[in-house]
Subunit: 225 residues, 2 copies
Protein backbone atom coordinates (compact mmCIF):
# COMPACT_ATOMS: atom_id res chain seq x y z
CA UNK A 1 0.00 0.00 0.00
CA UNK A 2 1.65 3.23 -1.16
CA UNK A 3 1.14 5.92 1.45
CA UNK A 4 2.51 9.44 1.00
CA UNK A 5 5.12 8.63 3.65
CA UNK A 6 6.09 5.52 1.73
CA UNK A 7 6.44 7.46 -1.53
CA UNK A 8 8.50 10.18 0.14
CA UNK A 9 10.79 7.57 1.65
CA UNK A 10 11.20 5.90 -1.74
CA UNK A 11 12.08 9.19 -3.45
CA UNK A 12 14.64 9.95 -0.75
CA UNK A 13 16.23 6.53 -1.21
CA UNK A 14 16.29 7.04 -4.97
CA UNK A 15 18.04 10.39 -4.56
CA UNK A 16 20.60 8.78 -2.28
CA UNK A 17 21.17 6.04 -4.85
CA UNK A 18 21.80 8.65 -7.53
CA UNK A 19 24.15 10.58 -5.25
CA UNK A 20 26.17 7.41 -4.61
CA UNK A 21 26.39 6.68 -8.34
CA UNK A 22 27.66 10.25 -8.93
CA UNK A 23 30.21 9.75 -6.18
CA UNK A 24 31.36 6.47 -7.70
CA UNK A 25 31.57 8.09 -11.14
CA UNK A 26 33.68 10.88 -9.65
CA UNK A 27 36.06 8.38 -8.07
CA UNK A 28 36.39 6.32 -11.26
CA UNK A 29 36.94 9.44 -13.35
CA UNK A 30 39.61 10.67 -10.95
CA UNK A 31 41.39 7.31 -11.19
CA UNK A 32 41.43 7.68 -15.00
CA UNK A 33 42.69 11.26 -14.75
CA UNK A 34 45.50 10.30 -12.36
CA UNK A 35 46.51 7.25 -14.42
CA UNK A 36 46.89 9.41 -17.55
CA UNK A 37 48.66 12.16 -15.57
CA UNK A 38 51.03 9.49 -14.23
CA UNK A 39 51.65 8.35 -17.80
CA UNK A 40 52.32 11.84 -19.17
CA UNK A 41 54.45 13.00 -16.21
CA UNK A 42 56.21 9.59 -15.97
CA UNK A 43 55.35 9.78 -12.28
CA UNK A 44 55.75 6.27 -10.86
CA UNK A 45 54.53 7.25 -7.39
CA UNK A 46 51.32 8.57 -8.87
CA UNK A 47 50.91 5.44 -11.01
CA UNK A 48 51.45 3.24 -7.95
CA UNK A 49 48.86 5.30 -6.10
CA UNK A 50 46.31 4.57 -8.84
CA UNK A 51 47.17 0.87 -8.89
CA UNK A 52 46.57 0.46 -5.16
CA UNK A 53 43.49 2.68 -5.00
CA UNK A 54 40.74 0.51 -6.53
CA UNK A 55 39.11 -0.26 -3.18
CA UNK A 56 36.82 2.82 -2.88
CA UNK A 57 35.23 2.17 -6.30
CA UNK A 58 34.85 -1.55 -5.57
CA UNK A 59 33.25 -0.89 -2.18
CA UNK A 60 30.73 1.51 -3.73
CA UNK A 61 30.00 -1.06 -6.44
CA UNK A 62 28.79 -3.55 -3.83
CA UNK A 63 26.93 -0.94 -1.79
CA UNK A 64 25.06 0.47 -4.81
CA UNK A 65 24.00 -2.97 -6.03
CA UNK A 66 22.64 -3.67 -2.59
CA UNK A 67 20.72 -0.36 -2.54
CA UNK A 68 19.17 -1.16 -5.93
CA UNK A 69 17.91 -4.59 -4.86
CA UNK A 70 16.52 -3.21 -1.60
CA UNK A 71 14.65 -0.49 -3.51
CA UNK A 72 13.25 -3.01 -5.99
CA UNK A 73 12.20 -5.49 -3.30
CA UNK A 74 10.72 -3.05 -0.78
CA UNK A 75 9.06 -0.53 -3.07
CA UNK A 76 8.22 -2.51 -6.20
CA UNK A 77 8.49 0.60 -8.39
CA UNK A 78 6.79 0.92 -11.76
CA UNK A 79 7.52 2.50 -15.12
CA UNK A 80 10.18 5.23 -15.06
CA UNK A 81 11.34 4.45 -11.50
CA UNK A 82 11.66 0.74 -12.31
CA UNK A 83 13.68 1.55 -15.42
CA UNK A 84 15.86 3.99 -13.44
CA UNK A 85 16.72 1.44 -10.75
CA UNK A 86 17.41 -1.47 -13.10
CA UNK A 87 19.51 0.93 -15.18
CA UNK A 88 21.34 1.92 -11.99
CA UNK A 89 22.43 -1.73 -11.63
CA UNK A 90 23.83 -1.58 -15.16
CA UNK A 91 25.44 1.85 -14.70
CA UNK A 92 27.03 0.57 -11.51
CA UNK A 93 28.63 -2.21 -13.56
CA UNK A 94 29.80 0.30 -16.17
CA UNK A 95 31.44 2.48 -13.51
CA UNK A 96 33.16 -0.49 -11.90
CA UNK A 97 34.63 -1.37 -15.32
CA UNK A 98 35.85 2.22 -15.73
CA UNK A 99 37.66 1.79 -12.43
CA UNK A 100 39.19 -1.44 -13.78
CA UNK A 101 40.23 0.33 -16.98
CA UNK A 102 41.98 3.05 -14.94
CA UNK A 103 43.99 0.23 -13.35
CA UNK A 104 44.76 -1.21 -16.81
CA UNK A 105 45.96 2.24 -17.93
CA UNK A 106 48.11 2.48 -14.81
CA UNK A 107 49.67 -0.94 -15.51
CA UNK A 108 50.52 0.06 -19.09
CA UNK A 109 51.81 3.45 -17.88
CA UNK A 110 54.14 1.73 -15.43
CA UNK A 111 55.60 -0.41 -18.23
CA UNK A 112 55.81 2.63 -20.54
CA UNK A 113 57.83 4.58 -17.94
CA UNK A 114 60.53 1.88 -18.12
CA UNK A 115 61.37 2.90 -21.71
CA UNK A 116 62.49 6.23 -23.20
CA UNK A 117 59.40 8.19 -24.32
CA UNK A 118 58.27 7.36 -27.88
CA UNK A 119 56.86 10.83 -28.47
CA UNK A 120 55.33 13.81 -26.74
CA UNK A 121 51.87 12.67 -25.66
CA UNK A 122 49.18 14.97 -27.02
CA UNK A 123 46.38 12.80 -28.38
CA UNK A 124 46.17 10.38 -25.45
CA UNK A 125 45.50 13.18 -22.92
CA UNK A 126 42.95 14.54 -25.41
CA UNK A 127 41.24 11.15 -25.58
CA UNK A 128 41.29 10.97 -21.78
CA UNK A 129 39.75 14.42 -21.50
CA UNK A 130 36.95 13.54 -23.94
CA UNK A 131 36.26 10.20 -22.23
CA UNK A 132 36.13 11.88 -18.80
CA UNK A 133 33.73 14.54 -20.07
CA UNK A 134 31.52 11.87 -21.64
CA UNK A 135 31.47 9.95 -18.38
CA UNK A 136 30.63 13.03 -16.30
CA UNK A 137 27.93 14.18 -18.72
CA UNK A 138 26.35 10.74 -18.95
CA UNK A 139 26.00 10.55 -15.16
CA UNK A 140 24.76 14.11 -15.02
CA UNK A 141 22.19 13.17 -17.68
CA UNK A 142 21.17 10.15 -15.57
CA UNK A 143 20.67 12.15 -12.39
CA UNK A 144 18.77 14.94 -14.16
CA UNK A 145 17.05 12.52 -16.57
CA UNK A 146 18.21 14.82 -19.36
CA UNK A 147 18.02 13.12 -22.75
CA UNK A 148 19.53 16.10 -24.64
CA UNK A 149 22.70 15.80 -22.60
CA UNK A 150 22.65 12.01 -23.11
CA UNK A 151 22.41 12.58 -26.86
CA UNK A 152 25.44 14.90 -26.71
CA UNK A 153 27.41 12.07 -25.09
CA UNK A 154 26.44 9.71 -27.91
CA UNK A 155 27.56 12.29 -30.49
CA UNK A 156 31.03 12.54 -28.94
CA UNK A 157 31.88 8.87 -29.38
CA UNK A 158 33.07 9.37 -32.98
CA UNK A 159 35.71 11.85 -31.80
CA UNK A 160 37.21 9.20 -29.56
CA UNK A 161 37.12 6.64 -32.34
CA UNK A 162 38.89 9.01 -34.76
CA UNK A 163 41.59 9.83 -32.22
CA UNK A 164 42.14 6.15 -31.52
CA UNK A 165 42.63 5.44 -35.25
CA UNK A 166 44.96 8.43 -35.61
CA UNK A 167 47.05 7.33 -32.60
CA UNK A 168 47.27 3.81 -33.99
CA UNK A 169 48.50 4.99 -37.42
CA UNK A 170 51.04 7.36 -35.95
CA UNK A 171 52.46 4.79 -33.53
CA UNK A 172 52.63 2.18 -36.27
CA UNK A 173 54.88 4.57 -38.23
CA UNK A 174 57.19 4.88 -35.22
CA UNK A 175 57.28 1.11 -34.74
CA UNK A 176 58.15 0.51 -38.40
CA UNK A 177 60.94 3.11 -38.33
CA UNK A 178 62.58 2.23 -35.04
CA UNK A 179 62.18 -1.17 -33.42
CA UNK A 180 63.20 0.18 -30.01
CA UNK A 181 59.79 1.92 -29.92
CA UNK A 182 57.81 -1.30 -30.46
CA UNK A 183 57.29 -2.24 -26.82
CA UNK A 184 56.42 1.21 -25.46
CA UNK A 185 54.30 2.05 -28.52
CA UNK A 186 52.29 -1.14 -27.92
CA UNK A 187 51.47 0.13 -24.44
CA UNK A 188 50.31 3.47 -25.83
CA UNK A 189 48.07 1.62 -28.30
CA UNK A 190 46.60 -0.42 -25.45
CA UNK A 191 46.02 2.74 -23.42
CA UNK A 192 44.17 4.35 -26.33
CA UNK A 193 41.94 1.23 -26.48
CA UNK A 194 41.26 1.45 -22.75
CA UNK A 195 40.24 5.09 -23.15
CA UNK A 196 37.99 4.18 -26.06
CA UNK A 197 36.29 1.62 -23.83
CA UNK A 198 35.73 4.23 -21.12
CA UNK A 199 33.91 6.22 -23.79
CA UNK A 200 31.90 3.08 -24.61
CA UNK A 201 30.80 2.81 -20.98
CA UNK A 202 29.72 6.48 -21.02
CA UNK A 203 27.79 5.67 -24.20
CA UNK A 204 26.07 2.74 -22.46
CA UNK A 205 25.02 5.05 -19.63
CA UNK A 206 23.72 7.69 -22.06
CA UNK A 207 21.69 5.04 -23.91
CA UNK A 208 20.25 3.91 -20.59
CA UNK A 209 19.20 7.50 -19.81
CA UNK A 210 17.28 7.77 -23.07
CA UNK A 211 15.67 4.40 -22.34
CA UNK A 212 14.71 5.41 -18.79
CA UNK A 213 13.09 8.67 -19.81
CA UNK A 214 11.47 7.74 -23.10
CA UNK A 215 11.25 3.93 -22.78
CA UNK A 216 12.82 4.10 -26.24
CA UNK A 217 15.67 1.78 -27.06
CA UNK A 218 18.32 3.69 -29.02
CA UNK A 219 20.69 0.76 -29.16
CA UNK A 220 21.20 -0.95 -32.50
CA UNK A 221 19.31 2.00 -34.03
CA UNK A 222 16.11 0.35 -32.85
CA UNK A 223 14.48 3.77 -32.74
CA UNK A 224 15.20 4.52 -36.40
CA UNK A 225 12.24 4.69 -38.72
CA UNK B 1 -2.47 -10.91 -5.50
CA UNK B 2 -0.47 -14.02 -6.32
CA UNK B 3 -2.80 -16.78 -7.38
CA UNK B 4 -1.52 -20.21 -8.39
CA UNK B 5 -2.37 -19.36 -11.98
CA UNK B 6 -0.37 -16.14 -11.66
CA UNK B 7 2.64 -17.96 -10.23
CA UNK B 8 2.50 -20.62 -12.93
CA UNK B 9 2.36 -17.94 -15.61
CA UNK B 10 5.34 -16.17 -14.04
CA UNK B 11 7.39 -19.36 -13.93
CA UNK B 12 6.58 -20.05 -17.58
CA UNK B 13 7.67 -16.55 -18.55
CA UNK B 14 10.87 -16.94 -16.54
CA UNK B 15 11.64 -20.24 -18.33
CA UNK B 16 11.07 -18.54 -21.68
CA UNK B 17 13.39 -15.69 -20.66
CA UNK B 18 16.10 -18.19 -19.77
CA UNK B 19 15.58 -20.06 -23.06
CA UNK B 20 15.98 -16.81 -24.99
CA UNK B 21 19.20 -15.97 -23.12
CA UNK B 22 20.55 -19.44 -23.95
CA UNK B 23 19.63 -18.89 -27.58
CA UNK B 24 21.36 -15.51 -27.60
CA UNK B 25 24.43 -17.02 -25.94
CA UNK B 26 24.50 -19.73 -28.59
CA UNK B 27 24.34 -17.15 -31.39
CA UNK B 28 27.07 -14.99 -29.84
CA UNK B 29 29.28 -18.02 -29.25
CA UNK B 30 28.79 -19.17 -32.84
CA UNK B 31 29.82 -15.72 -34.10
CA UNK B 32 33.03 -15.98 -32.04
CA UNK B 33 33.69 -19.50 -33.34
CA UNK B 34 33.19 -18.45 -36.96
CA UNK B 35 35.31 -15.30 -36.60
CA UNK B 36 38.23 -17.33 -35.25
CA UNK B 37 37.70 -20.05 -37.89
CA UNK B 38 37.73 -17.30 -40.53
CA UNK B 39 41.00 -16.01 -39.06
CA UNK B 40 42.69 -19.43 -38.96
CA UNK B 41 41.45 -20.54 -42.41
CA UNK B 42 42.02 -17.07 -43.91
CA UNK B 43 38.48 -17.40 -45.23
CA UNK B 44 37.33 -13.93 -46.25
CA UNK B 45 33.81 -15.05 -47.15
CA UNK B 46 33.35 -16.50 -43.68
CA UNK B 47 34.76 -13.34 -42.10
CA UNK B 48 32.38 -11.21 -44.17
CA UNK B 49 29.52 -13.45 -43.07
CA UNK B 50 30.39 -12.78 -39.41
CA UNK B 51 30.70 -9.05 -40.00
CA UNK B 52 27.24 -8.77 -41.54
CA UNK B 53 25.55 -11.16 -39.11
CA UNK B 54 25.21 -9.09 -35.93
CA UNK B 55 21.47 -8.51 -36.37
CA UNK B 56 20.12 -11.71 -34.71
CA UNK B 57 22.07 -11.06 -31.48
CA UNK B 58 21.06 -7.38 -31.47
CA UNK B 59 17.38 -8.23 -32.02
CA UNK B 60 17.43 -10.70 -29.12
CA UNK B 61 19.16 -8.10 -26.95
CA UNK B 62 16.21 -5.75 -27.30
CA UNK B 63 13.61 -8.52 -26.93
CA UNK B 64 15.19 -9.94 -23.76
CA UNK B 65 15.46 -6.52 -22.12
CA UNK B 66 11.80 -5.99 -22.83
CA UNK B 67 10.88 -9.41 -21.37
CA UNK B 68 12.82 -8.59 -18.18
CA UNK B 69 11.06 -5.27 -17.62
CA UNK B 70 7.65 -6.81 -18.29
CA UNK B 71 8.35 -9.56 -15.76
CA UNK B 72 9.52 -7.05 -13.16
CA UNK B 73 6.58 -4.71 -13.67
CA UNK B 74 3.80 -7.29 -13.90
CA UNK B 75 4.95 -9.82 -11.33
CA UNK B 76 7.01 -7.80 -8.86
CA UNK B 77 9.12 -10.82 -7.98
CA UNK B 78 11.01 -11.14 -4.71
CA UNK B 79 14.31 -12.60 -3.54
CA UNK B 80 15.86 -15.19 -5.85
CA UNK B 81 13.48 -14.44 -8.74
CA UNK B 82 14.13 -10.71 -8.46
CA UNK B 83 17.86 -11.31 -8.47
CA UNK B 84 17.55 -13.69 -11.43
CA UNK B 85 15.64 -11.19 -13.56
CA UNK B 86 17.82 -8.17 -12.77
CA UNK B 87 20.83 -10.39 -13.45
CA UNK B 88 19.23 -11.38 -16.75
CA UNK B 89 19.32 -7.69 -17.76
CA UNK B 90 23.05 -7.66 -17.01
CA UNK B 91 23.72 -11.01 -18.68
CA UNK B 92 21.86 -9.75 -21.73
CA UNK B 93 24.31 -6.82 -21.87
CA UNK B 94 27.26 -9.20 -21.48
CA UNK B 95 26.05 -11.36 -24.37
CA UNK B 96 25.50 -8.36 -26.61
CA UNK B 97 29.11 -7.31 -25.94
CA UNK B 98 30.29 -10.81 -26.82
CA UNK B 99 28.51 -10.36 -30.14
CA UNK B 100 30.31 -7.02 -30.60
CA UNK B 101 33.64 -8.66 -29.76
CA UNK B 102 33.04 -11.34 -32.41
CA UNK B 103 32.66 -8.46 -34.89
CA UNK B 104 35.89 -6.87 -33.59
CA UNK B 105 37.67 -10.22 -34.07
CA UNK B 106 36.24 -10.43 -37.59
CA UNK B 107 37.52 -6.93 -38.42
CA UNK B 108 41.02 -7.77 -37.17
CA UNK B 109 40.89 -11.13 -39.01
CA UNK B 110 40.04 -9.33 -42.26
CA UNK B 111 43.06 -7.05 -41.88
CA UNK B 112 45.24 -10.01 -40.88
CA UNK B 113 44.29 -11.90 -44.04
CA UNK B 114 45.80 -9.08 -46.13
CA UNK B 115 49.30 -9.94 -44.88
CA UNK B 116 51.33 -13.15 -45.08
CA UNK B 117 50.69 -15.25 -41.95
CA UNK B 118 52.98 -14.39 -39.04
CA UNK B 119 52.90 -17.91 -37.65
CA UNK B 120 50.79 -21.02 -37.36
CA UNK B 121 47.92 -20.09 -35.05
CA UNK B 122 47.69 -22.49 -32.12
CA UNK B 123 47.19 -20.43 -28.99
CA UNK B 124 44.49 -18.12 -30.35
CA UNK B 125 42.15 -21.01 -31.24
CA UNK B 126 42.92 -22.44 -27.78
CA UNK B 127 41.94 -19.13 -26.19
CA UNK B 128 38.78 -19.07 -28.29
CA UNK B 129 37.89 -22.59 -27.27
CA UNK B 130 38.35 -21.81 -23.56
CA UNK B 131 36.36 -18.56 -23.84
CA UNK B 132 33.52 -20.33 -25.65
CA UNK B 133 33.40 -23.08 -23.03
CA UNK B 134 33.38 -20.48 -20.25
CA UNK B 135 30.51 -18.67 -21.94
CA UNK B 136 28.48 -21.85 -22.47
CA UNK B 137 29.09 -23.08 -18.92
CA UNK B 138 28.23 -19.71 -17.38
CA UNK B 139 24.87 -19.65 -19.16
CA UNK B 140 24.25 -23.27 -18.30
CA UNK B 141 25.03 -22.39 -14.68
CA UNK B 142 22.55 -19.50 -14.89
CA UNK B 143 19.72 -21.60 -16.28
CA UNK B 144 20.30 -24.44 -13.80
CA UNK B 145 21.26 -22.05 -10.98
CA UNK B 146 24.33 -24.19 -10.48
CA UNK B 147 26.97 -22.41 -8.40
CA UNK B 148 29.52 -25.25 -8.71
CA UNK B 149 29.55 -24.85 -12.47
CA UNK B 150 29.75 -21.06 -12.04
CA UNK B 151 32.77 -21.53 -9.80
CA UNK B 152 34.43 -23.70 -12.47
CA UNK B 153 34.02 -20.82 -14.93
CA UNK B 154 35.71 -18.42 -12.49
CA UNK B 155 38.61 -20.86 -12.09
CA UNK B 156 39.23 -20.96 -15.85
CA UNK B 157 39.86 -17.23 -16.21
CA UNK B 158 43.54 -17.57 -15.24
CA UNK B 159 44.15 -19.95 -18.16
CA UNK B 160 42.95 -17.29 -20.57
CA UNK B 161 45.09 -14.66 -18.91
CA UNK B 162 48.20 -16.86 -19.11
CA UNK B 163 47.61 -17.61 -22.78
CA UNK B 164 47.12 -13.91 -23.54
CA UNK B 165 50.47 -13.08 -21.87
CA UNK B 166 52.20 -15.94 -23.69
CA UNK B 167 50.78 -14.82 -27.06
CA UNK B 168 51.88 -11.24 -26.40
CA UNK B 169 55.47 -12.26 -25.57
CA UNK B 170 55.77 -14.54 -28.57
CA UNK B 171 54.39 -11.97 -31.00
CA UNK B 172 56.63 -9.27 -29.56
CA UNK B 173 59.63 -11.48 -30.43
CA UNK B 174 58.39 -11.75 -34.03
CA UNK B 175 57.86 -8.00 -34.26
CA UNK B 176 61.33 -7.24 -32.95
CA UNK B 177 62.96 -9.69 -35.38
CA UNK B 178 61.07 -8.81 -38.54
CA UNK B 179 59.31 -5.50 -39.00
CA UNK B 180 57.08 -6.88 -41.77
CA UNK B 181 55.24 -8.79 -39.03
CA UNK B 182 54.42 -5.68 -36.97
CA UNK B 183 51.05 -4.89 -38.53
CA UNK B 184 49.61 -8.42 -38.64
CA UNK B 185 51.07 -9.28 -35.21
CA UNK B 186 49.29 -6.21 -33.78
CA UNK B 187 46.01 -7.64 -35.02
CA UNK B 188 46.71 -10.98 -33.38
CA UNK B 189 47.45 -9.18 -30.11
CA UNK B 190 44.16 -7.30 -30.40
CA UNK B 191 42.31 -10.55 -31.11
CA UNK B 192 43.81 -12.18 -28.02
CA UNK B 193 42.56 -9.18 -25.99
CA UNK B 194 39.08 -9.54 -27.47
CA UNK B 195 39.05 -13.22 -26.50
CA UNK B 196 40.20 -12.34 -23.00
CA UNK B 197 37.27 -9.94 -22.74
CA UNK B 198 34.84 -12.66 -23.83
CA UNK B 199 36.18 -14.66 -20.90
CA UNK B 200 35.60 -11.61 -18.69
CA UNK B 201 31.95 -11.51 -19.76
CA UNK B 202 31.57 -15.23 -18.93
CA UNK B 203 33.14 -14.43 -15.55
CA UNK B 204 30.59 -11.64 -15.00
CA UNK B 205 27.78 -14.09 -15.73
CA UNK B 206 29.24 -16.73 -13.39
CA UNK B 207 29.53 -14.13 -10.60
CA UNK B 208 25.90 -13.18 -11.20
CA UNK B 209 24.87 -16.83 -10.85
CA UNK B 210 26.57 -17.11 -7.46
CA UNK B 211 24.91 -13.84 -6.42
CA UNK B 212 21.47 -15.01 -7.59
CA UNK B 213 21.59 -18.33 -5.78
CA UNK B 214 23.39 -17.40 -2.60
CA UNK B 215 22.81 -13.61 -2.49
CA UNK B 216 26.55 -13.59 -1.86
CA UNK B 217 28.68 -11.08 -3.71
CA UNK B 218 31.87 -12.77 -4.91
CA UNK B 219 33.15 -9.74 -6.72
CA UNK B 220 36.11 -7.92 -5.24
CA UNK B 221 36.50 -10.89 -2.89
CA UNK B 222 33.66 -9.45 -0.83
CA UNK B 223 32.89 -12.94 0.42
CA UNK B 224 36.35 -13.52 1.81
CA UNK B 225 36.72 -13.74 5.54
Amino acid sequence: MATIEHIRHFQEELQQLKARLLEMGGLAEEQVRLAVKGLVDRDRDLIDHVLTNDEPVNALHIEIDSRCFTLLALHQPMAIDLRAIVSAVKINTDLERVGDLAINIGEAARRYAQHPPVKKLIDIPRMASIAQTMLRDSLDAFVRQNTDLAQQVLNKDDELDDLKTQIFRELLTYMLQDQSTIEPALDLILISRHLERIGDHATNIAEDVIFIVSARDVRHHAGET
